[in-house]
Structures are given as C-alpha cells and as structure tokens.
C-alpha cells in the first residue's frame, strides 16, 4: 500500500473518475477519494492501465472536482469486517451502522467479492423447508441451500410474501415427518437461524416495512440489515448485495447459522450496473444492459448453498420486479437461468384478491425433486404436485375456451376441470398472510380438490396413493 495521494483526476463522467499518472494500481483495488471540501468517499478500480486508472465511486460524484481532489489507493480490495455481533444491527448499503449503535468490532475482514465455491465441495441441498404457504410447499418446494427468487411486478405483494417466508420458514424434524406433523418438536433448539436482508434502491417505506416486520416478530435480534434506499447513491447498490452475502457466508460457514438472505430489489441493482456500464461507454447488450450481466448476477446468486462438512447453509430469496410484468426482460430472464427456479406472482390472481398470488404456471423449484416424498414430506407429494399443476393448467385452458364458446358447450370432464380450477384458486392458492399451513394440511386440501375430477383423469398420482388418500365421496 502506498501513501501517495494523487491529485491527477483528469476526467469525471457519471460515477467514474479517470486518474492519470498513477503507478502500481491494481485492478479492483479500493481507493479513498478526498474531496476539496475535505469529505471522504470510497471507490474501486474498474480498469488499470499504465499511467491511468478508471475509478468507480460508490457514492455520487457530486462535489468531486478535477482540481483539489485527492485519490489514495489502499492496496486492498473492498472488505467488510464481520462479526457475530452484527446480528440485530442495521447498516447502510455501504456497510456503516445507521441504527445509532457503535461500530462493529470485526472478528474477521473479508473481501466482499467472495470466491466461487468449488462444486466438488458443495453438498446437494435436499432438506425440505416448510414455508407454510401451500403453493410453495406443495408445488414449488423450497430447499435449504437453494436460491429461489420471487418474480414480481410493481404493486404486487412480494415484500409481504418474502417477510412471511422469512417468518414461517423452518425445517421439519424427523419425528414430525413420521407422524405427519401431529407430534414432534416444532421448535428445534439445536439449530441457529439468521436472516440477512439487503435492500437496494427500495423506498423508505418498504425498508421500514421489513424492519418493522422483523421487530414485530422478534426476528430482528437474529437479523442483519443492509439498507440502500432509493435516495441513497446508486452505485452503492453494487456493493450492497455483496456485503450482505459476505456477512451471510461468515455466519453460515464459520458460525454454523442457517441463513436466509433476502435481496430486494434486484432490478434496481441491475439498473445501477447499467449506469456504470454506460458511463464507461461499453458495448451494450440487450436493452442497454452490459454483456456481462449474466456473469455479474451469477457472482451474487451462486453465493448460496451448503458446503460439505459445514453445518450452516445459505438460502437465497432475491426479489425482482419485472418491468411491465415481462418475464423475457433481460433481468428476470438471466436470473431464471442462474437461480434454481422462481416463484412467479401474477397480476390476474392479485386482482381477484387472492393472496399470495403465486401462479403455478411459470413458477418452479428445480431442487424440489429431492425434498419431496417419503422421509422428507410424504410419499404422495411429488404426484400431487404434478397432478395439481397439470389439472389447474388444463382448467385455465378450458376457462378460456368457455369464454369464447359458452359453458354449455363443455362436456362433463371439462366442467369438472373448470370447477377444480375455481376451487383451486380459492382454497389452495389463497391463504392469509398469517396462515401457516403445515405441508400435511396443504396436501389434504389438494386431495380434497382432486375429488372434483373423474378418477380416470388422475394420471399423475399413483393408484395406491389414490386408494390411501383420496377422500371417499
């Protein structure tokens, strides 16, 4: 590390500084910028050439001048001091405490970029997490160590849903699975839980909602919050999720916590990335987003999972709002290619007053296969999942048909599907934001709904399961 302060800021463009006549500056190095006013800001090196460095500020460039500004390169990358005592604390999007408490005494300093987990050392996630929400538990099973985003749109209740998941999520004990939830310890004591929350560019109210939600349920004491609100610097948002995940990795893989990471809103993050890319005059990819958006998002989303020999885990629930509810927009599109499925919220269901408006078509959990069935939940789980989704899809199709042709033109089977689809929405998808259904309750609702359909139509559930579980009319 050098103590040289360069006063050679030559150009300023957007969040970028071009510093000339520098020596020995490394790529990705952190630097401190002293403004003519004496204020300090942080930046990092985006490109380092002989005699020039391109520096990206994490805060606004307002007040930075080409003359009188000093740049000091710190000889290290962006690090965060982590400690167990961060639990219960609130930080800014750049990692400084904003809850009025003292600075955290770091137990360790970690590079916020992390390193890729060796795939050979990962443990495959297969522990069923019961969220208490039927559409997730039965159809899009969440698994410990999974990254499962919520694809939402503006105005949809994604925050409420994320808070509900964070509040209710838990792993069933073997005893509970054995007795189908009738007995067994519902509150495991041996495992440690934590929530890490990263907010990027959200409104003050939304940030408050989560904070209050955590406080109300007593979860705040085991939560770490990083909050960058809409009026905070845009570029700071690029660091926020990384701070959150570095903290989560420390809690999970060094202190054995089971960590749920909620990141909201990834759309704002991507927009910040686009802003920096545009300022660098890079060749844009789709819709102006940089060509490396996929790689960049992967360095965030891939920081979830379990590691062989470690007790803790990171389960990631990023939230993103799809511009114009368009799932083919680059942000949801690239996210879907990286994450292990997605929970999709639907405006149509929301308008019908159904909460949570999770639409089975388009929602998916890629890891559910190993977390459903005997020993994990119940033997009829995966068949039920396939049957309900297929039947609902058919029902919706018939509903559309009925709009054109009139209901009278439908045959008996079609009408049964129609009834099924209506009841499915009202009884299965819909549940209150405090309703915490066990997986067994959810499955019995499913069986009850299947009584609407002729038995010959139940091709996805096994016949011995029909025998065992289908209520006799």
């Amino acid at each position: 590390m050098s103590n040289i302060a360069y006063k050679t800021v030559h150009d300023i463009a957007g969040p970028l500084l071009f510093v000339r006549e520098v020596e020995g500056v490394a790529f990705d190095e952190l630097c401190e910028i002293e403004l003519p006013s004496g204020a300090h800001r942080l930046g990092k090196v985006l490109e380092s050439r002989e005699g020039m460095a391109v520096v990206q500020l994490f805060e606004s460039t307002q007040g930075v001048a080409t003359e009188g500004t000093k740049v000091r390169f710190l000889g290290r990358t962006f690090e965060i001091g982590v400690a167990e005592e961060m639990l219960g604390r609130v930080f800014s999007g750049a990692g400084t405490p904003i809850d009025g408490g003292p600075a955290v005494l770091p137990e360790k300093k970690l590079d916020i970029n992390g390193s890729p987990i060796n795939p050979a050392v990962r443990e495959f996630p297969d522990d069923f997490i019961q969220t208490g929400i039927s559409t997730i538990d039965v159809l899009n099973t969440l698994v410990r160590g999974q990254k499962l985003p919520i694809f939402s749109g503006s105005g949809l209740p994604h925050s409420k849903l994320a808070a509900q998941i964070a509040r209710q999520a838990r792993v069933l004990s073997p005893k509970e699975v054995e007795t189908e939830g009738k007995s067994g310890d519902a509150h495991q004591s041996t495992e440690k839980f934590a929530v890490v929350f990263g907010a990027m560019g959200v409104t003050f109210e939304e940030a408050q909602f989560f904070q209050q939600e955590f406080e109300k349920t007593g979860a705040l004491s085991r939560a770490v919050l990083f909050i960058n609100t809409a009026d905070n610097p845009v570029v700071e948002r690029i660091a926020t999720p990384r701070l959150a995940l570095t903290t989560a990795e420390y809690l999970a893989f060094e202190l054995d916590y089971h960590v749920t990471v909620i990141l909201t809103d990834m759309t704002n993050y991507c927009e910040a990335l686009r802003e920096v890319s545009a300022a660098r005059k890079e060749v844009p990819g789709r819709r102006g987003y940089p060509g490396y958006l996929y790689t960049d998002l992967a360095t965030i989303y891939e920081r979830a999972g379990r590691i062989r020999g470690k007790k803790g885990s990171i389960t990631q629930i990023p939230i993103l709002t799809m511009p114009e509810d368009d799932v083919t927009h680059p942000i949801p599109d690239l996210t879907g290619y990286i994450t292990e499925g997605q929970i999709r919220l639907d405006r149509g269901l929301h308008q019908k007053g159904i909460y949570p408006p999770v639409i089975p078509m388009g929602s998916l959990s890629r890891l559910k296969g190993k977390a459903q069935g005997e020993g994990k939940t119940r033997e009829d789980h995966s068949g039920m999942d396939a049957q309900l989704t297929a039947a609902y899809a058919r029902g919706v199709e018939i509903r559309e048909l009925a709009v054109i042709l009139g209901e009278s033109s439908l045959n008996e089977t079609d009408k049964a599907y129609l009834r099924f689809a209506d009841r499915f929405e009202k009884e299965f998808i819909r549940q209150g934001d405090t309703a915490n259904r066990s997986i067994y309750e959810s499955l019995s609702i499913g069986w009850d709904l299947l009584t609407e359909l002729p038995k010959a139509e139940l091709k996805r559930v096994k016949s011995d399961h029909i025998e065992k579980f289908l209520p006799k009319k």
Partner: protein
C-alpha cells in the same frame, strides 16, 4: 521470455514486451502465476484472456511465456475425473487450497503422476507402427479399456516395449522413426484444445444413439456421431434432458460439460452419478464419465475454454474406437463468454453484441462431432456425438446463438415452456422439433426393431400434426363440430401425448424405455385407432363410449410393462381388439 502488464480490465490483461509470443500461447500472469492465453497480438503487445480472477493485479507485473499452447493431458485416469474448465481436478484444487472456495494461482496437474497402471503390450519389438496404432492397453475402469496409441506425429519401428506396471510419465515404448531417431513414448500425451484431433476420414452415421427417452428415440432420433441441440427457455428442462441423456444413452464414454451453469446442479451430477448404474452394464455410471464443471460464477475465460477441453478429451476416446457422447450445458454461456471477451477487446460487434466470428466458432465446434475411421492400420471406428443445450434469452429462438447452432446441427429438440407449465415432460415440442437423421437411420430401425417401425413413427407424427390443426378449430367452434374421424384423431393424439410421449425422468422405472418397447407402445395406440375407425362410423355412435373404454387405462399403463415382456403387449393388443369389437356388436 517475459513481458509486463500495461492494462488490466476484468479477465482481459494487456502486456508489452511480448515479442515472439504466439497466438493461443499459454502465459503465466503476475506474481500470482495466473493462467492466461494470448488471444490478440499487436507488435510486441499481447492481449491475454486470464482464466482466473484478476483482482489485485496491476500494471508493471510480469507475464511469463511458456511457449506452449493450451493443451489437455491425455492418459489413463481421465475417466471418473471432475475438472474445471482448464482441466484442473476440482478435488485436487480443494486439497491444495485447503478451502471450500476456489482460490487462484493454484497449479495442479490434470492427471495423477504417481498412480501406477498395468500396461499390457499389444505390439512387440520389431513391429512397424503408424500414428494411431494401439501400443497396448490399460484397464482404466471396469467399463473402459484405455488404448494407448502411437502419437499423431510419431511412427516407425518398435525398438522396445515395456509391459507392466507404470506411471503415466514412464516410457512404455521406444519407436525408431523413419529419420532414424528413437522416440520415447509415455502413456501421457498432450493435445492442444483448439485443434481437432485427426482421423483417416469421416463416415456417414448409420446407427442411432439410443437414449431411452421415448420422444427422442421414436420421433426425433439422433445418430451416433451426430450433432444435436436442445434450445429452450429456463425451466423447460434442458438440464434434466441433458442429464437423462448422460445417464441412459448407449454411448460408451460420456463427457459432460457444465458450462457456466449452476453450482448445485453440478453437485447433483457429482453426487448422483457414482450411485447410478448403467442400464447396459450394471456398473456405476461414473466409470464411463468425465465431468467438466465451470459454474457461472467461475472466471468467464475458463468457461470459453471448457467446451474445447471437453471435446478434445472426447475425441481422444473416439480415436480409441469408442462411441463417445458429449453434452454441453449450455453453449449459450460459452457464446456469452466469447461476447464478453470480444467486448473487452473492443472488437466490432455483430448481432446482439456477439462477435462476428460466433457463427464460425459454433460451426467449428459442432463439426468436431462425427463418425470416423480412426488413425492406425487396424480398421477402427469411433464416433463422437455432440448435444449442446442452448439458452435463448426469453426463449426466443430467433436469437443469434440458436440460429447459428441450428445451421450446423442436424437434430433439433425444441423445448417448450408451455408444455413445462402443464408439467408435460420431457417438454419437447413435437411440432417444432426435427431430425435430419430419420432417413439414414431408417434402415437400422426397420432391421433391428421392426419392419414398420419408421412408418409407424411417420404416422404418429402426422397424427400429432393433425391434432394441432384440429385444436384450432375446436378453439373456435367447439368439439361438436368435428366429424367422428376427426374426434378419433384427437383421441389418438391425446393417447400418444399422455401415454407415450409423457415420461418421468425421476421415476426409475419410467426413465428408460428400450426401442422395442417404444415401438410396441406406439403400435398398440395405432392399433386402437385402426380398430376404432370402423366402430365410430356406425350411425349415431356415442363417442363417449369409446372414450370410456376400460382398455384405455391399460394403454396408459403400457409404459410400465417390464422390458422384454412381449406377451403383455400381445395381450394388450388382443384386449384392444376385443373391447372395440364389442362396441361394434352392440346395436346402436
């Protein structure tokens, strides 16, 4: 042999003082010893793509030339390995790094130098050998006999051959070339990844790659030595299909490349394969498999290299005379890696920011597939089938990667999000997909399976096509407007879809269906249609009677009939005949 860095921008490093550097030469970058490859030269300035994270690297640091091009190590020990994009074993990386994370600057050999293999000689001193001839064999795993071949640039008279237990670097043979010089040959050989391995000549593929997946084998068969692609939006089942292929296809060696994909998915493959057994041999699948895992958060340049690393290893086994299948999931990530490097090099972009050479690189990759007559005096045939997954943004097949891939692949398995939403798996759209091998494989199917195998397939396809037309009519005017014949077509198509094409990859019993059984299921469904033709033409026939026939339940269960149980199928066909005949006899 060393220069110094003048610029670092992400995975791209520019160095000066690189006089004499060659294109695609491997270099060691900075004090951290990061692996890089020269991809552009301007005078004495070289642009280098670095295969490891470059943060903390700055101008002035050294760049060492190695004089070698990026190559893979080829010798016994490849099978069952799990590599990163540049052939570093992931398990060794873990041991070396002493951490669950991949740290950089780690240098580990691709193959174990200490392990001894029993080398059995196939030639003796005095024999004349040419490139590609088998010098001897090593039982690499219980499934695969590794054939140690004379390197491509060697040949002559065998002076000495050392059978017995050897390490891969030991000399196992000495060959005197035509120039009179003696060459020592070890089991370990190297091959540059960007150059296809040579063969005598390519031949037209004539046998199918049997996958056990009904829609693929029956409707859109792929040839051994063919090239195919699976494009589809996320969630449509690309990875599940690729994994199913890796598990059940009847190739002898599998190379599976996870290119820029999910870490947990690679872990799934890693943990699952050792426990799964090969349906053809009963041995663990891992014994015939090589995995290359470059997850999406691993350095982007190594992602670009990973497909070449994989295909070079695959070609090596092809040259031994094996049927090799390579799965690349997903080639879109590979193309994106190219785009990213191209952008950093400030090249003029082509379509959607992809470099102008996207098409030629894609074609070059898929052309490495094929059925070949291997080098060597002995008449050995090998094949390399390549199946690439493509992840088009938004599921839009008109994008450049899909289009460039379609130009060079002969099998197109189009995944469809709508089918996946309905939980119809494999979600392969039967209207969009195609195979260009149907004709060249016709002979095989008609000879090996049944005479009317291909004609049944054509019929099934046309029924499904007819269905989509009829469905449009139904959508406008309802089912009642259809003639009984058309209703029967719909009913048959529905059976084909639900009872034949639908297949559960997670169900051990359903995941694999032999060609013969596939044929029998289709035949039974078509038999039902034929028999019903007469029945429905009766006056005032109530179509619901046909729909409610008990035998339809049996057809739906036909995919669960044990392999090889021909009697069960005969019985099924008899039941169909009987029940439909009974409908004729009842007076209307």
């Amino acid at each position: 042999m060393s220069g110094s860095i003048i610029k670092v921008a992400g995975p791209l490093v520019v160095a000066k003082g690189m006089t004499g550097a060659k294109m695609f030469e491997v270099v060691r970058v900075s004090k951290e010893n990061l692996i890089g490859e020269v991809i552009e030269l301007h005078g004495d300035t070289a642009s280098i793509q670095v295969y490891e994270e470059t943060s903390g690297i700055g101008p002035g640091e050294p760049v060492e030339r190695t004089g070698e091009t990026l190559s893979v190590e080829l010798a016994p020990g490849l099978l069952t390995s799990i590599y990163d994009g540049i052939q570093r074993p992931l398990e060794l990386i873990e041991r070396e790094a002493k951490s669950a994370y991949i740290s950089r600057g780690i240098s580990v050999p691709g193959l174990d130098r200490a392990k001894k293999w029993d080398f059995a000689a196939k030639v003796k001193a005095g024999d004349v050998v040419e490139p590609g001839d088998v010098l001897g064999t090593v039982q690499e795993t219980s499934l695969i006999e590794h054939r140690v071949m004379v390197p491509v640039d060697k040949g002559g008279t065998v002076v000495r051959i050392n059978a017995g237990s050897h390490r891969i670097e030991d000399t196992i043979a000495v060959i005197k070339g035509s120039d009179g010089k003696e060459h020592e040959i070890a089991m370990l050989q190297r091959w540059p990844i960007r150059i296809p391995r040579p063969s005598h000549n390519k031949i037209i593929p004539s046998s199918p790659l049997v996958t056990g997946m009904r829609i693929l084998d029956t409707l859109f068969p792929m040839a051994k030595g063919g090239a195919g692609c699976i494009p589809g939006p996320f969630g449509a089942g690309k990875t599940v299909t690729q994994q199913s292929l890796a598990k059940y296809c009847d190739a002898q060696v599998i190379v599976y490349i996870g290119c820029g994909e999910r870490g947990n998915e690679m872990t799934e493959v890693l943990t699952e394969f050792p426990h799964l057994t090969d349906p053809n041999t009963g041995e663990p699948l891992m014994k015939r498999t090589i995995l290359i895992a470059n997850t999406s958060n691993m350095p982007v340049a190594a992602r670009e290299a990973s497909v070449y690393t994989g295909i070079t290893i695959a070609e090596y086994y092809r040259d031994m005379g094996y049927d090799v299948a390579l799965m690349a999931d997903s080639t879109s990530r590979w193309a994106e890696a190219m785009r990213e490097m191209s952008g950093r090099l400030e090249e003029m972009p082509g379509e959607e920011g992809y470099p102008a050479y996207l098409g030629s690189r894609t074609a070059g990759f898929y052309e490495r597939a094929g059925c070949v007559r291997c080098l060597g005096a002995e008449d050995r045939k090998g094949s390399l089938s390549v199946i690439g997954a493509v992840s088009p943004p938004g599921g839009d097949f008109s994008e450049p990667v899909t289009q460039n891939t379609l130009r060079v692949t002969k099998v197109f398995w189009a995944l469809d999000a709508k089918l996946a939403y309905k939980r119809h798996f494999p979600a392969i759209n039967w209207l969009q997909s195609y195979t260009l091998y149907a004709e060249s494989l016709q002979h095989f199917f008609n000879r090996e399976v049944a005479e009317d195998c291909m004609s049944n397939r054509d019929r099934a396809l046309s029924i499904l096509q007819e269905e989509s037309k009829l469905e449009e009519i139904v959508r406008l005017v309802g089912t009642d407007a259809l003639s009984p014949k058309e209703q029967l077509t719909l009913e048959t198509a529905r059976m084909l879809r639900e009872d034949f094409l639908f297949q559960n990859a997670y169900d051990a019993k359903d995941a694999y269906t032999s060609l013969k059984k596939q044929y029998r299921i289709v035949r039974a469904i078509l038999h039902f249609m034929d028999k019903a033709q007469g029945v429905i033409m009766q006056e005032d026939f109530d179509f619901a009677k046909l729909r409610d026939l008990a035998v339809k339940e049996k057809i739906a269960q036909a995919h669960l009939i044990e392999e090889g149980d021909e009697h069960a199928f005969d019985a099924l066909e008899r039941a169909i005949t009987e029940q439909l005949d009974s409908l004729t006899l009842t007076p209307a």
